[in-house]
């Protein structure tokens, strides 16, 4: 059983990245970066060599989503641009570009199970659907009053679920664009001084479409944010909150990414005050996690490989913080990086 994942190795990066995702074909790993780039590694090659990145985005690339059957990757940046790529090409070029998909920061992308739609959400409070074929706009889902952080499709493709920075989660009928119901995740939000803190950091549905997982943190303060990392598990049909998993202490802050496995196991990663990161496996009905590791600093993303055995965690280098000047031996200003830690379930 997979209670003790073994670390296979680390792929070092010279920069920070956000979410990482494995391609459905299993050959590639992609990660969106802080400088408008999408980095790409060949997992079939010896030592998983890094390939030519997908270039052309601006700002942060936080949205990554794959077509379920075709070798297409959809990416989105913090300047509002949405792109579609033939991700396996030696010299990848966009198949199409939506330059102004949103006004500013696109937070998340999701592709419908039938591969026809790619959904996006962002800081402009909008939730939109686009044709995966040519990037033409299809549907708009209006109703969020604040920054929309995350979204996902239901496995049957009938619903789109979106969550915002106040903990409002909406269940949309994909074709009518009507909001059919809401899930109350307001415990993941707090107003501290004049700062809105928290929000829905990740959404996931199980393969059967019965359970909706909403990840984030229960904030106690802004500024140097403190929050208890939390996953709320709802009955997707009724909206009833069934389980609340509190996965750490206030310095552990947010669940940044999670996977909901068919066997009901929640696999989550957290990132808290600098140096604090966790990988957690927990069943909803258990008091304690089946597995918890806090060896990695600031874990921001977890991606399962299609082989079902391997997974990768995007972490941060140790010693990533500090006030004032810190230079390397050559007098250069030191930035941070995001080591990619590969694990295998045994």
């Amino acid at each position: 059983m997979m209670l003790d994942p073994q670390e296979l190795g680390v792929v070092e990066t010279d920069r920070q990245v956000h979410a990482a995702r494995c391609s459905p074909c299993g050959q590639y790993l992609f990660a969106g970066g802080f400088e408008g780039e999408v980095r790409r590694w060949d997992l079939d090659g010896e030592d998983s060599p890094e390939l030519q990145p997908l270039a052309g985005h601006h700002g942060w690339v936080q949205g990554l989503a794959f077509h379920p059957t075709e070798k297409r990757l959809f990416t989105a940046d913090s300047w509002g641009e949405l792109r579609c790529w033939d991700y396996a090409a030696d010299e990848p070029a966009p198949c199409w570009i939506q330059e102004s998909a949103h006004d500013g920061w696109i937070r998340c992308l999701a592709v419908s199970p039938d591969g026809k739609l790619v959904a996006s959400c962002g800081r402009d409070r909008r939730v939109r659907n686009w044709s995966t074929v040519d990037g033409k706009p299809q549907y708009e889902y209006t109703g969020h009053e604040h920054d929309v952080y995350n979204l996902t499709f239901s496995p049957d493709g009938k619903f789109l679920v979106s969550g915002d920075d106040r903990g409002v989660v909406k269940k949309w009928n994909v074709l009518t664009a009507e909001c059919e119901s809401e899930f109350d995740a307001s415990s993941l939000y707090a107003y501290h001084r004049i700062q809105d803190v928290g929000g829905v950091r990740v959404l996931a549905l199980d393969a059967a479409g019965k359970t909706l997982a909403v990840g984030g943190g229960k904030p106690s303060r802004g500024g140097t944010v403190q929050a208890v990392p939390t996953v709320l598990l709802f009955d997707f049909a009724t909206g009833e909150l069934q389980h609340t998993l509190e996965l750490g202490k206030p310095q552990d802050c947010y669940v940044h990414d999670l996977v909901l496995r068919p066997d009901n196991l929640v696999i989550a990663v957290t990132s808290g005050t600098p140096g604090n990161g966790q990988i957690i496996f927990q069943r909803p009905t258990d008091e304690e996690p089946l597995f918890r590791s806090n060896k990695l600093a600031n874990c921001h993303s977890i991606a399962l490989h299609p082989d079902g055995r391997r997974f990768v965690v995007v972490a941060t280098n140790k010693g990533s913080n500090g006030n004032g000047r810190r230079l390397d031996a050559d007098g250069n200003y030191i930035g941070n990086s995001s080591p990619l830690h590969w694990f295998e379930l045994t």
Binding site: E35, C253, G272, N317
Partner: protein, 428 residues
Amino acid sequence: MTNPRCKTWEHHLSRRHLLGAAAGATLGAAGLGGLLHPAVAGELKQKRKQVLFIWIDGGMSQLESWDPKPNTRFGGPFRAISTSVPGIQLSELLPQTARQMHHLAVVRSLHTQDNSHSAGVARIQRGDPKDRGVTYPYFGSAVARLLGPGNSGLPPYVWVKPGSGGFKHQDAGFLGPQYGALAFGDGQPPENLVKRNAVSDQDLEDRDRLRRSLNQRYAVGRPPRNSEANDYVFDVAQTLMQRRDLFDMESITARERDRYGRNDLGRDMLLGRRMLEAGVTFVKVNSYGWDTHGDNFNGHASLMPKFDQAFAAVIEDLHQRGMLDDVLVIAMSEFGRTPRINGHVGRDHWPEAWSLAMAGCGIQKGLVIGKTNDTGTFVDSEEHDIGHLFHTWFRALGIDPVKTEYNNDGQPLPIAHDDCHVIQEALI
């Protein structure tokens, strides 16, 4: 006898002393914290100068505000946007301020000495002068001393802030407690300002006469500023009793409150503007919660719009009321934030290269002073410490920062760091 209803703040200040000091330096030169240059107050009488000092406590990120570096390693997710001044860009988190850029001067070349809050706040607000074994006054206290209270009867230095109010004598340093800040917490006047119905006007007058008599007896053989400060507090309280309207937010239209924002900063900025209109010399408006070591970008996405709304509104209002030429507006923190993005997706403290904005009295309009390198890590022009800004602000207010000195009980002290100088390009 101790009055149990007496607050700490009620034990300082003398209105007579302050009025006397403003009227001149004659009295001041003879007393503690006086001025050695006697012409200052007289010159300043020609045109009433005021200051709005907006303190963003904890450290606003320069990269998410005044000095964006979009699409660079440390630039963050946000775009830069054009402003009302061609060629000058600000962060997209400042859309309303961008439309007021033609009133502003942005300094992008700040290089200061302290990266801690505990020491940095005071060090910046005192102008970080050379160590001469004395505690220098905060800028507010200095301006209160140098410009005086005017004719409003209101205290010369008020501090509008969230949380508790009261009298903050520590700000005054060697100038003495009478130049401290009177803080209005949560937009409220000091407690017990309203006279109870059971107390008649005659009762009040009798009580005040008794208080003054006791105070005079107490003053015999003691340093005069203690008793004068005590008198002054009561004088101020009486004036505030007449100006309770300043705190009546219900008298302000919903539209105006909406323009400033329905949050602590919007409320306090609006009250700050009203204090300026009422004649207060120095108004400090404070916002807390900017120390974004974690979740900096979502934090600034939430914080900056509130600052943007309130700041743009007050600039626009001061301009429309014809006040901006005589009110020096400054918006700043104790330092900026690191270009480096830590694992908590935050930015830490960074005094090496950061920014502030200013406008109004004596300040050039629509320009950027200094620059940082392409990644925003260091200043790539002449560096400016807080001492340079103190020189510049005093000059903008019509005070010669070189010739004017404090007289600390016979010890002449410069009003700004003697190794720094005016930033000439910032001045009209």
